[in-house]
């Protein structure tokens, strides 16, 4: 390219004076060259892998097909959120596993969040002994692998709780808690279940068929939350207009709890208590050891990380903010709620998202205590029985990837909403 000439000439010049060497030495072309070379190398690499796979499969006399998902699974799964028995397909077993994974992930995320916030705040408290205890909790749990914790919690559950047979006899060595409602055994915890007398049947959605009663209850709760938002908005409007904020708490309780209670009465809801029959407790909801060990293991372990995130989030707010709040005459509780937390959340949420993702991915350690998650069903027994490791693994990776990406995009939406709007 010539160094002389006006703008018009310059724009015309490259075409006329294009030389092959410009692909390497001209800034404008070089990046294209690099990208094309990169693309070419990448495609070559992928083609090499695919070609190897095809050759290897042929050499082993195998094909690549997902047809095995339609074959009968032949194994039982203890914890199933949807109907399943050993005559159903491998695909169905994988779905049961996936639902177990999601259930565990949600439970562990909730526990980690609650524990993390409590421990993070208490670590900053001026109570010497509590702050020290929380430090010990955080350090011990953070520095020992989660797998070790899961196994330890599994051992604690099966070793230190009484066997169901201890509840039997005239003078049992163990007894149920909360007026015969909860039984803690070494096979898990049995809690009462809510049953309905008037069953409206199930909604058949093909793969899953949730109970219509529960769908209605869920809708009632969602409706209540929506109504609550309207009430709060109205209260704010009144406050802006008059300076007085009307009391809203009783309205909130009424709109959320009211419809649910009415629905429960209408459906004839009652509690089903667990009862010792035969070898085990029957009835109620059975939270198995494996679920509890995974839940506690993941929840408490990750809670230690969340505690650190919360603590550093609170510490990141400059002291001037709380001093300014105090100068305005806000009480410490309000300072926390209105000034510190909204700002701290901006710092807290992004690392919190990655902790939630970690929990979701760590649910795949379920096999260590026999929790039947996706990895134990599709990635474990199914692969083992059918020998379809390539297909099974690829499918499992794809599912985990979809779940992770969904979580991170949902949380990013939330993050964008709480983010400080810079104007």
């Amino acid at each position: 390219m010539s160094s002389t000439g006006d703008a018009r000439m310059q724009s015309a010049a490259p075409k006329a004076a294009f030389k092959l060497s410009m692909l390497l030495y001209d800034q404008r072309y070089r990046s294209i060259t690099i990208q094309i070379v990169f693309l070419f190398a990448l495609m070559l690499g992928i083609a090499w892998l695919v070609d190897n796979t095809i050759n290897n499969l042929r050499a082993l006399g195998r094909d690549f097909s997902f047809a095995f998902l339609g074959n009968p699974a032949g194994y039982d799964i203890n914890q199933r959120l949807i109907e399943y028995d050993s005559q159903m397909t491998h695909g169905r077993a994988a779905l049961v596993g996936l639902l177990n994974t999601i259930l565990l992930a949600i439970m562990a995320c909730a526990l980690a969040t609650v524990l993390g916030i409590v421990a993070g705040v208490l670590r900053l408290s001026n109570n010497w002994i509590v702050a020290r205890l929380m430090t010990i909790y955080v350090e011990i749990f953070r520095n020992i692998p989660t797998l070790v914790w899961i196994i330890i919690f599994g051992a604690i559950m099966s070793e230190s709780m009484p066997a169901p047979s201890a509840f039997r006899g005239d003078d049992p060595s163990a007894s149920m808690l909360l007026g015969d409602a909860v039984a803690m055994t070494n096979r898990g915890v049995y809690i009462p279940a809510i049953l309905f007398d008037n069953n409206l049947g199930n909604l058949n959605l093909g793969v899953v068929s949730p109970s219509i009663n529960w769908i209605l209850v869920l809708l009632a709760i969602l409706g209540g939350i929506f109504a609550h938002k309207r009430i709060v908005a109205h209260a704010t409007a009144v406050q802006n207009a008059t300076g007085e904020r009307p009391k809203t708490w009783w309205k909130t309780i009424a709109v959320i709890a009211g419809p649910v209670v009415l629905l429960f009465i209408f459906f004839g809801a009652h509690l089903e208590y667990p009862e010792l029959r035969g070898f085990n407790f029957q009835g109620g909801i059975h939270m198995r050891n494996s679920l509890i060990a995974m839940w506690l293991g993941l929840g408490i372990y990750t809670g230690a990380f969340v505690a650190e995130i919360v603590r550093s989030g609170i510490l990141a707010i400059s002291r001037g903010q709380s001093e300014a709040a105090a100068a305005l005459g806000l009480q410490p509780g309000k300072t926390m709620r209105l000034v510190i937390l909204p700002q701290a959340l901006r710092v807290i949420i992004p690392p919190l998202i990655s902790q939630y993702l970690n929990i979701t991915k760590n649910t795949s350690l379920g096999l260590a205590v026999g929790y039947m998650d996706l990895r134990s069903t599709l990635g474990g027994i199914t692969i083992n029985q059918t020998g379809r490791e390539l297909e099974g693994m690829l499918l499992m990776m794809a599912i985990y990837l979809i779940v992770s990406l969904t979580i991170s995009s949902l949380m990013n939406v939330y993050n964008n909403r709480v983010k400080l709007k810079e104007r």
């Binding site: 797998l147 330890i152 991915k361 991170s408």
Partner: protein
């Protein structure tokens, strides 16, 4: 009033300072302020005390009454005779397996020496005060470490090392021609050396001077040795890869950027265990028929890819933390992209990222326990094998406590180091 009136009393010495009230001093004050400042705090304190008491009374006797010398669990039970007590005899009996796996006992000094040298090699990287000359040792350490752990012909690591030397010489020789040519030349020289000269050179030198430690197979590796080997190798190999990925993700080249983003998000979106299963079950499908190498090596490759994605994000954070002025200053000096990265951007970005890198390493080190699922005998896998021995069937707490304590010591000291660094790097004043 007269000022001649004699003064009846004048205090000419100060009164000694009075003791503060009993509630405002000493232990009582400390207790009031720190433990019982309000009712909520009092409840918390009492709850904490109860919790501590419960833990101590349930675990205390068991720990105090431990047996350190017995041949089997049954013997332990006989000695304890019904009283609660731990049987740490399993640790005295099997500690060497938990630490080294099945590494030949007469060669235990090799991994120990490798660990000591590793610490020496890491020192100049971790502590900026140490002389920079020590970095030369850090560069050579991988080869020494490899030879110490695996043994075999001493010429093998040397010939691999010479590959890098060949690359460097080519780089310097061609540097005058052009930056690009010199890089291509360096890579080509290294590859040519490895593929065509390294093998014969190794064989020839070994036949002339058969020096070397006894070869130890990867299958003999186990216990904490395997966790450390996988963790340390994974993290050090993932650093360069992570830097490239981070730069790729920030690149203007759309295609390169997309590929890097897809790779990073894929790796971060799937559990490590699926990658480990890929290493143990699937890698053979993807490689040419008949290719077959060591499971540990396959695991290291997968762990490296895994760590690289996380490393890329850490380094991206470091890059983002650099003020824009640094980039502009580099441009203003007329430095090209790589020179700017090498001389200005990376030294600063990496320094900021060290705490993040250390944290990535801690989590990777903890994640090495997952290799038990693919049949490698890490400490957890060995605990299963030990419990399968008829002498120790039925023992578990003692093993878990030992394993947990070792991990704790290691990870805790690393996290302290990373906190020390964070404090040192923190420049804001509050």
């Amino acid at each position: 009033m007269s000022d001649t009136q004699p003064i009846s009393y004048v205090r000419d010495t100060m009164l000694g300072q009075q003791e503060p009230p009993a509630t405002q001093r000493g232990v009582v004050k400390w207790l009031r302020e720190n433990l019982f400042s309000n009712w909520l705090n009092s409840i918390l304190t009492l709850a904490a005390l109860v919790a501590i008491y419960l833990i101590l009374t349930s675990v205390g006797p068991w720990l105090l009454n431990s047996i350190w010398d017995a041949e089997s669990l049954r013997e332990c039970r006989d000695i304890l005779d019904g009283t609660p007590g731990a049987c740490f005899a399993v640790i005295t009996d099997r500690w060497h397996q938990l630490l080294f796996g099945f590494y030949p006992p007469e060669h235990y000094w090799r991994p120990v020496l490798a660990l000591v040298l590793l610490l020496i090699a890491l020192a100049p990287i971790l502590f900026a005060e140490l002389p920079r000359k020590m970095l030369y040792f850090s560069a050579v350490f991988p080869f020494i470490g490899y030879h110490l752990l695996w043994g075999g012909s001493v010429w093998f690591p040397i010939s691999v090392f010479l590959g890098f030397v060949a690359g460097y010489i080519a780089f310097r020789a061609l540097a005058k021609v052009s930056a690009l040519v010199s890089v291509i030349g360096a890579v080509a020289a290294t590859l040519v050396w490895w593929f065509f000269i390294a093998g014969p050179f190794d064989a020839a030198m070994y036949s002339v001077a058969p020096i070397g430690l006894e070869f130890v197979r990867s299958e003999s590796f186990g216990g904490f040795l395997i966790s450390l080997v996988i963790g340390v190798t994974g993290i050090s190999l993932s650093l360069p890869l992570g830097i490239l990925l981070a730069l790729g993700r920030q690149s203007d080249m759309l295609f390169v950027k997309t590929v890097c983003v897809v790779f990073i998000e894929f790796i971060r979106g799937v559990p490590l265990i699926t990658l480990l299963f890929t290493a143990s079950l699937l890698l053979n499908y993807f490689l040419p028929p008949g290719t077959n190498f060591d499971l540990i090596l396959r695991v290291i490759i997968m762990v490296t890819l895994f760590a690289a994605a996380y490393m890329a994000e850490v380094i991206r954070g470091g890059l983002a933390a650099l003020p824009k002025g640094q980039y502009e200053a580099a441009d203003a000096l007329g430095l090209d992209y790589w020179k700017a990265q090498r001389l200005i951007i990376m030294p600063q970005a990496l320094k900021i990222s060290i705490p993040g890198i250390v944290n990535t390493f801690i989590s990777l080190f903890k994640d090495t326990t997952l290799v038990v699922f693919i049949g490698l005998l890490d400490p957890l896998g060995l605990s299963n094998a030990i419990r399968a021995d008829t002498a120790w069937t039925g023992i578990y707490w003692e093993l878990f406590i030992f394993i947990g304590a070792l991990f704790f010591i290691f990870c805790f000291s690393m996290s302290r180091y990373s906190m020390y660094l964070e404090r040192k790097l923190k420049t804001d004043h509050r």
